[in-house]
């Protein structure tokens, strides 16, 4: 009897502890239970590419190859979202976007302009303005997984990858991060087998992304190394991409970032390709 009673006590205490433990886990990571992988990536997508209705950034890129030769690029990037909304609900923030990239340096690309109209459901429209020829060249939408202006960042890193292109899986939740794994729906279209990200739980900025090949070898890593809050928007101010296959590394420094600049819509037109809108670039 005593033994039996003891067993019952032991059992119930154990059950209690298990429940408390589970419950404790539950309480500490309540957000994890409530946010799905899709919600996390959606928010991260917003934080990375859609904050404010427009934005201006002055960017310096330093590309250093394995032999330690370095090259730099300086540019001003203007962005405007077609939708004004910053609302995450029902993906209201997601819309087509316009980009205007004015190159300052190096001298061979100085004063050139690259303009992109990015759509969610079809190929980008792209133009390149070559000032020495006064030529507005319409250019074909390139493979989005190719290098952005010779750096270790790809076009998609700069302009954003469609969330629908991957399956997202929440692997872990730690004190600071959501750790996710993203597997491409069409592996033929990309150079990686999957990638894993650490998304900061409060700012929803992706702090690290590592791309792996089929055998689980790292092929590329991107790390956000400086964050600043600008006009209430947490913003990556320095980001580094490392190509593990070539040993090349690119550091992208944001010299300045500003949101809700009030860019006129017509900045993204042939008029301002030929006549640079200096007011918004300096």
């Amino acid at each position: 009897m005593i033994n039996l009673l003891n067993l019952r006590i032991i059992f119930s205490v154990a059950m209690f502890l298990i429940m408390v433990n589970i419950g404790g886990f539950h309480i500490n990571h309540a957000d994890a239970a409530e946010l799905s992988a899709e919600e996390i990536v959606n928010h991260a997508n917003y934080s990375s590419y859609y904050q404010g209705k427009d934005g201006r950034a002055q960017v310096k890129m330093t590309i250093t190859d394995k032999q330690n030769n370095s090259r730099s690029r300086k540019m001003t990037i203007l962005r405007q979202d077609i939708t004004d909304s910053d609302n995450l609900k029902n993906n209201a923030y997601r819309s087509a976007q316009q980009f205007y990239v004015y190159f300052h340096r190096p001298s061979d690309v100085s004063k050139m302009v690259f303009m992109v109209l990015k759509y969610l459901d079809k190929d980008d429209d792209r133009w390149l303005y070559l000032p020495a020829l006064d030529l507005v060249k319409r250019i074909a939408a390139s493979d989005k997984r190719t290098s952005f202006i010779g750096s270790d960042f790809l076009y998609e890193d700069v302009s954003g990858r469609l969330l629908e292109d991957d399956n997202h899986q929440l692997l872990e939740v730690s004190k600071n991060y959501y750790k996710l794994k993203h597997t491409p729906k069409d592996p033929q279209k990309v150079e990686f087998a999957y990638f894993e990200t650490y998304i900061h739980k409060i700012s929803f900025l992706p702090i690290q992304a590592v791309y792996y090949d089929d055998s689980g070898q790292k092929i590329r890593t991107i790390v956000a190394t400086k964050i600043k809050t600008i006009q209430d928007f947490p913003t990556v101010m320095q980001s580094t991409a490392i190509n593990h296959l070539t040993g090349s590394k690119t550091v992208m420094d944001y010299i300045s970032v500003e949101y809700n600049v009030g860019l006129p819509k017509n900045i993204f037109s042939e008029r301002y390709l030929r006549n640079v809108p200096k007011k918004y670039l300096r």
Binding site: I18, M237, I255
Partner: protein, 481 residues
């Protein structure tokens, strides 16, 4: 009873350890350290159970907020002084086939290019030009109109963007419009064919115009109007640097026996030019209509009395369309060239009126490899009249000229090496022009390039074949700043 607690403690301990282990696993070694800027962030408040919306005040104490006032843009351009950039370039070229008409050295020049921009309130001054020491030039005396000699002033203009719907650009400027790739129908701004065929940088294909350009921007369409009070001719093939087929001589001629002597229309406000473009877009399609009134840009006839080459009057009506199709760029352009000094086509010494049509497509085939192709037709409109009036000993030009072009562009070595191949191929007459080029960006300053201009075909009076003696290879080294 005390005895009975032991297993409970044991289980509790087990659970604590298990839990601890779990957190060890989750604090994965691969997890990145918090970057600067997030490190001062407070721990999540213990009771925070709801969705973690962005707490606005979270960073307030730790981080500056950038405003207009503290935007850093020092040294953004990295220019020597604000607004100035340029390059120094040495370019050497050599003929492949030894031609008796020209020097074997096709290019031997040192060039300093300067580009300067100065912004006033709503105005900008653009100044760009080259100082050239050209070992192959027979005179270093500058001629700002032809660009020959020591100084080639390429841009010297004032641009006003003062108005909501208008821009004005006044002065010497480079102008380009239309949809072709190295083919031009409605772009009747001057070209420098010598630079193009000798192997100078592609930027020198365009020669400057002295003009005023007024642009209107509307909701539905935009208008560009370019007025030049004095005719801006092409920098045409005149025999000085490139040999060509002379109809008069019935043979290839060069600087020793066939310098082109021209009568240049140069009366200010009389021999003027007007170019108009109305353009807009519909979805992703871009359309344009064009009108040009002026002169054939290169010699297109000869004066009966003097025998000199002339630039007959020309009017062109045209249109173009360009759109994104199947992940590539498709374009089509048409132009009707009305030869105003030979409307009927009876004057065999002046170019016939022509219909010019082209269609092109360009897309990236694999990463960093772009392929483009174009079809081009030039159809003489009064060919019968032309034949009827042609001198019996003269070589007749063809009724139609059809051409296809191919472009391959391949970027390798981190996009620092650009391999390019452009080919013009005239259908029916089998003459061709091949332009291979490779350029290498050694670093942010140095660019090396090498290439060739190769012309060939059967009959020497054909469009590209006539330049066969000028086939050349070239090399350049450029230091940009």
């Amino acid at each position: 009873m005390a005895k009975n607690f032991k297993p409970i403690i044991l289980i509790a301990l087990f659970l604590v350890v298990f839990n601890h282990n779990y957190s060890l696993i989750s604090a994965n070694a691969q997890e990145p350290a918090l970057p600067a800027g997030l490190s001062d962030e407070p721990n999540l408040p213990a009771g925070l159970g709801d969705e973690p919306a962005l707490p606005a005040g979270l960073f307030d104490d730790a981080i500056d907020v950038i405003t207009d006032k503290n935007i850093v843009n020092d040294d953004m351009d990295g220019e020597i002084f604000d607004g100035l950039s340029g390059f120094i370039e040495n370019r050497m070229g050599r003929q492949i086939n030894r031609s008796s008409y020209q020097n074997i050295s096709s290019l031997s020049e040192m060039r300093l290019h300067l580009d300067y921009q100065h912004d006033f309130q709503q105005m900008a001054l653009n100044l760009s030009g080259d100082i050239i020491y050209d070992d192959q030039a027979y005179s270093h005396k500058s001629n700002l109109k032809t660009g020959k000699g020591l100084v080639d002033l390429r841009q010297f203009n004032l641009t006003s963007t003062n108005f909501d719907n208008f821009d004005i650009k006044l002065g010497r400027q480079i102008l380009t419009w239309g949809t072709g790739d190295l083919l031009f129908i409605n772009d009747l701004f001057p070209k420098d064919w010598n630079s193009f065929l000798l192997g100078r940088d592609i930027n020198y294909l365009k020669a400057p115009s002295d003009a005023v350009k007024i642009s209107y921007y509307g909701d539905i369409f935009n208008i560009d109007g370019v007025y030049s009070p004095q005719f801006n001719s092409d920098r045409y093939i005149d025999g000085a640097r490139l040999s060509y087929f002379s109809g008069k001589n019935g043979d290839i001629v060069g600087k020793k026996n066939g310098m082109v002597d021209v009568i240049m229309p140069d009366r200010i406000f009389k021999d003027d030019e007007l170019a108009l473009r109305v353009y807009g877009s519909h979805g992703s399609a871009e359309w344009a209509g064009y009108l040009y009134d002026g002169f054939w840009k290169s010699p297109a006839g000869s004066d009966v009395k003097s025998g000199k080459a002339i630039f007959p009057r020309l009017r062109v009506y045209g249109a173009s369309i360009r759109d994104n199709i199947f992940s590539g760029i498709a374009s089509a352009e048409i132009g009707y060239y009305q030869s105003l000094d030979d409307r009927s086509g009876e004057d065999s010494l002046i170019n016939n009126s022509q219909l010019r049509i082209m269609a092109g497509y360009e897309r990236e085939i694999i990463s960093n490899l772009t392929f483009g192709t174009q079809w081009y037709l030039e159809a003489n409109q009064d060919y019968g009249e032309y034949l009827n009036n042609l001198a019996s000993n003269a070589k007749a030009s063809d009724k139609n000229r059809q051409m296809v072009t191919f472009r391959l562009n391949y970027l390798t070595h981190g996009q620092n090496v650009n391999w390019s191949l452009f080919t013009f191929l005239t259908l029916a007459t089998d003459d061709y022009y091949i332009r291979p080029n490779v350029s290498y960006k050694l670093d942010d300053n140095w660019i090396f390039a090498a290439g060739a201009n190769i012309f060939g075909g059967q009959e020497k009076h054909r469009f590209w074949r006539q330049f066969k003696d000028n086939s050349n290879i070239y090399f350049s080294a450029r230091f940009g700043f």
